[in-house]
Subunit: 368 residues, 2 copies
């Protein structure tokens, strides 16, 4: 009997992944680039126990047993076991019990599968003592999981091999490279069903006339420019590229037939608020990015966190603007004297998660 | 002393105009195609009086005197007078008083300037007895006014001459060509300021990476296909092209930096409702298009009007779903038995304008 417990972080892309070249192997149409968030705040945690007493593999997600026959789960299990056997010329006997949980609610609209699959594959690699890159394995669980196996600023290279062997993550810079950078996740109320990102991106690839221009022109230029901006810690350049790419992702969704929509009126009000905040401050001090849901992820320097949140509270005045991690009301400074912001969506922002750039998965415990 | 009174219709584009090649002459980057609506329901009405007693030109819009020095207004006045002088070797002495009104509220979000400038230029052409095409003159007042000088299905050809002389409207088919076609304008509540279309399209041309793909690929193919669909009265083809082009207009607005947004959550709910309506009916029975505002314009065959409105009333149940022209509550049939639609935005649709395809401007009265 052997057991490992690991955590893995959430990541939020600044140059977005949207569209697969291979649906089964999850090879993307374009490289993407993300920021790994600190797993002190947001994380998946997975314990895997291997025992000869177990007669079949089993998995529990957030306390509920799920089918182990999920094809993506099976791909990850099979791939790690194959590598273990190749590396050690034998495979430990027995089956696994996997217990995984996220410390953030699904309602937060965060890509829980990214942290979840990164954690699963990282834990399996520790359990079976597999060395080498595991991002290409995590990728087969959930595309964006590929980027959660590394910390800091991470590029998922689409690769060129039909097998997907070179479709993997590389670190552009470690978390410690940009200590001043903060991330606020503004959790927006929503009760509309959303189109799952897998089917949404399929529909975009099949029907959007504009998608090719994104893939051929916008993304390659932005990847080069944002990598450079990150290495130079040039916040204004990083921020503008981040906003433009988020806008474009939602533009190709809108150009999809029938259109796919993730942002709502509150999301768009937050977009306008960020642009207005920057205009009033006379420079780019904050930027937004939106994934397949209405929540805003705002990157900004540490000094801007409190004044920016005060503006959010004025525009979307909350009954309680709660810090999601502590559950406590966020203490906000007053707006600068004489500064007025139009109240747009009372209750539109339900809570705030405040975090930093973070490291990759961690092994918490291993026991024989 | 001489006086003319004319009306001109509203038009709603199905292949959209967005972006100018020449800001001053209002030459568009692409051809567009629209449907002229019946002026029994929606119209601008203009009376122009020419008198030697008037010492200066003056204009009243909807009962309020406006500056005659508006450069676009001056362009139209100067151009018609120049043509009159060339055609008749002299110009009647005196100045004009222009009294113009729309019979629809600005809040309806309809392009009042299109009907208004078409009416002004048409009335001036009657007053000064100018012959020949006047669409290129109306175009200099407001781009889309170019298409309101003709009835039925109208294409605004961008043209190639730097002077704009060949940037004018041509009729694809007259109103009587498709008697079964109906138009519903669903007036959506909105109180947010919108970005004026002139500055919105400038910003798109300057900043959207995706705009070129629209201009080079999407628009030319769609213009050919929708012209063919109109000539064959193929509603399904017409409808799908109309929806795709509306979606793409709002996609390039979303790809603009900072993004430009005209549709709101109610607009998007109406989009989803049309797609769901078509899915449940097993074919394309209705289509939507949105201009620079949140109101939906829905084209559909006459037989679909009542059942479609019943669905709108279920999704956006109105306190009163009023016919805008008569002011009376719209009488709706019950939904088919067993058919359930989720209520999404109570009060989201404030009123409905129900109209048909219509003819071009009319001379109502001329007096010496």
């Amino acid at each position: 009997m052997k057991s490992v417990t690991c955590t893995a972080p959430v990541n939020i892309a600044v140059i977005k992944y949207w569209g697969k070249a291979d649906e089964k192997l999850i090879i993307p149409l374009n490289d993407s680039l993300s920021v790994t968030l600190n797993s002190d705040e947001l994380r998946a945690k997975t314990t895997i126990t291997l025992s000869e007493d177990f007669t079949r593999d089993q998995i529990w997600l957030n306390g509920k047993e799920e089918s182990i026959d999920n094809p993506r789960l099976q791909s990850c299990l099979a791939e790690i076991r194959k590598r273990a056997e190749a590396e050690h010329k034998s495979l430990p006997k027995g089956c696994v019990q996997i217990v995984s949980e996220n410390n953030f609610p699904t309602a937060a609209g965060l890509a829980s599968s990214a942290a979840g699959y990164a954690c699963l594959v990282f834990a399996l690699s520790k359990l079976y003592a597999v060395s080498g890159d595991i991002s290409a394995v995590a990728r087969q669980g959930s595309g964006s999981a590929c980027r959660s196996v590394l910390g800091g600023f991470v590029r998922w290279v689409a690769g060129t091999e039909p097998s997907g062997a070179d479709s993997r993550a590389v670190q552009v810079a470690p978390a410690a490279h940009w200590p001043d950078l903060r991330c606020l996740i503004l959790v927006v109320s929503h009760d509309r069903k959303k189109v799952a990102s897998t089917s949404g991106m399929q529909r975009t690839v099949q029907t959007s006339d504009l998608m090719r221009a994104r893939l051929e022109h916008s993304v390659p230029a932005r990847l080069a420019a944002i990598t450079d901006a990150i290495l130079r810690r040039d916040f204004a350049a990083f921020a503008e590229l981040t906003m433009r790419d988020s806008n474009q992702l939602h533009a190709v969704c809108q150009d999809t037939y029938p259109p796919v929509r993730y942002m709502n009126d509150v999301s768009h009000a937050l977009v306008d608020t960020v642009h207005e905040y920057n205009a009033r401050r006379g420079g780019v001090r904050a930027c937004y990015t939106f994934d397949a849901g209405p929540n805003a992820c705002v990157y900004l320097p540490e000094a801007e966190v409190a004044p920016f949140l005060a503006v959010v509270a004025a525009v979307c005045p909350p009954p309680v603007l709660a810090d999601w991690v502590t559950g406590r009301p966020v203490q906000l400074p007053p707006l600068p004297e004489g500064e007025v912001w139009e109240q747009l969506f009372p209750g539109g922002v339900q809570s705030v998660i405040h975090t930093t750039v973070g490291d990759g998965p961690r092994l918490l415990e291993a026991a024989e």
